[in-house]
């Protein structure tokens, strides 16, 4: 059980950052993951009074506050139009609507969870994470960093024209994914983000000659399979995941531009 001694609704990001420097204090997002841990949090730092629960859309980008619930991302018309439905597809299998009304995008990315659909999806977009202390960090760099004591403020997704599709495989509905796959193409490069390997998502940028226009789907899928390190856990073996990396990449390339619906 998680014990919380003190609760502070931060009045500013500076206050939240200051409080977060103490090891026994914790920022709380949706608290769904934190709640699964046991131990004592000296001060729970709540960011919900800082106006970080909105998605702002301009001609250039989407700016998504760290406290935006996953359900709001899933239902956002602009994000879904831009990602051809991949945003919704990456989120709609996560537990249930009631869960996604609480879980936040900030908590999901900050945790850099191996199983994360959210990280897999954002890695496949032209996204930059805004940290209060660390400033703007490309999502690929952010994903590789170890969690520190900074505050994730917003995620910026540039409206770079792209084609993309998201697919995941689960042993049973609402369970963690056994493998997650986001295929995206912008600026003439095909990128494949593979999550739940079960290690955290990694991004593969394919050589220019491997594009759906000039290579076969099998060639592209084989390249991704060869460059994806998979592991075994209670949900699936490394060999099964490796095979899935091939299959999901192939199917996502077939769909590229949107879900097949």
């Amino acid at each position: 059980m998680l014990t919380i001694k003190k609760y502070v609704k931060a009045a500013s990001l500076d206050e939240a950052y200051e409080l977060n420097q103490k090891r026994t204090n914790r920022v709380i997002g949706g608290m769904l993951w934190l709640k699964m841990s046991s131990g004592t949090v000296q001060t729970a730092i709540d960011l919900s009074g800082l106006g970080l629960d909105t998605i702002e859309e301009t001609d250039e980008e989407f700016s998504i506050g760290a406290m935006v619930p996953l359900r709001d991302l899933e239902l956002h018309a602009g994000l879904n139009a831009y990602t051809h439905g991949a945003m919704r597809e990456s989120l709609r299998h996560i537990v249930g609507v009631q869960f996604r009304n609480l879980a936040t995008v900030g908590g999901s990315l900050y945790g850099r969870f191996g199983f994360s659909d959210v990280l897999t999806c954002f890695l496949g977009l032209d996204a930059v994470v805004e940290l209060h202390h660390g400033g703007m960090v490309p999502i690929k760099e952010f994903a590789a960093q170890k969690p520190d004591r900074d505050i994730l403020v917003r995620i910026h997704v540039k409206k770079t024209p792209l084609r993309c599709a998201y697919l995941s495989q689960r042993n049973t509905k609402t369970d963690f994914p056994v493998l997650a796959c986001m295929v995206s193409e912008w600026d003439g490069t095909l990128r494949v983000s593979i999550g739940a390997r079960p290690q955290k998502a990694s991004l593969i940028e394919l050589p220019k000659d491997l594009m759906p226009e000039n290579a076969s789907l099998e060639e592209i899928a084989s390249y991704v399979q060869e460059h994806t390190v998979t592991g075994s856990n209670m949900r699936a073996s490394a060999a099964y995941r490796s095979r899935l990396a091939y299959v999901l990449t192939k199917r996502a390339c077939q769909q590229i531009g949107g879900m097949d619906k």
């Binding site: 609760y7 608290m31 769904l32 729970a44 359900r71 537990v95 249930g96 609507v97 009304n101 609402t174």
Partner: protein
């Protein structure tokens, strides 16, 4: 910590512990429909509405409900009874343990999407686990309720 919220239409002020979970607060305030199933945020049994949106009360700090409106099944009796009868008529339940969470989330769905397809129903209710039935009875009950409402020229939206 002092909080004030609106619970099922009534204003409630209380001094709560920092780590009190909403489910416990609600049960302490007589809302026994709100139950613990898994406590790992998986089963949906503890579903309540926070400012009209379905959330898991087992995973929410009570202090986060400060200044907000909370509804439990106790506050939605009329809609719940009418809809619940359709579920019962289909023999959808065995032990009935999942029922309060299922009804709450179905009502949330009717408000968001008054005319859902079967696929939309299954997707919306995926976070409500039932360990006895195979969900078919619940699906039939929801369909029958929606068809009944349609035949009367009414929508399934529940006002709060």
């Amino acid at each position: 910590m002092m909080i004030k919220l609106n619970l099922n239409g009534k204003s409630v002020s209380a001094d709560v512990a920092e780590d009190s979970l909403l489910i416990d607060f609600l049960r302490e305030h007589g809302c026994y429909s709100v139950k613990r199933g898994c406590e790992t945020s998986n089963c949906g049994l503890c579903t309540v509405f926070l400012d009209g949106k379905p959330v898991l009360s087992c995973s929410l700090l009570t202090v986060r409900a400060d200044g907000k409106t909370v509804h439990t099944l106790e506050g939605l009796q009329k809609e719940a009874e009418e809809f619940g009868a359709f579920i019962a008529r289909q023999g959808a339940e065995q032990c009935g343990f999942c029922n309060p969470g299922m009804i709450m989330n179905a009502i949330a769905m009717f408000r968001e999407n008054p005319d859902p397809t079967d696929e939309e129903i299954l997707e919306y209710l995926a976070g409500n686990l039932c360990r006895c039935s195979g969900y078919e009875g619940q699906l039939r009950g929801i369909r029958a309720f929606l068809d009944y409402k349609k035949s009367k020229g009414e929508t399934a939206i529940c006002n709060m």
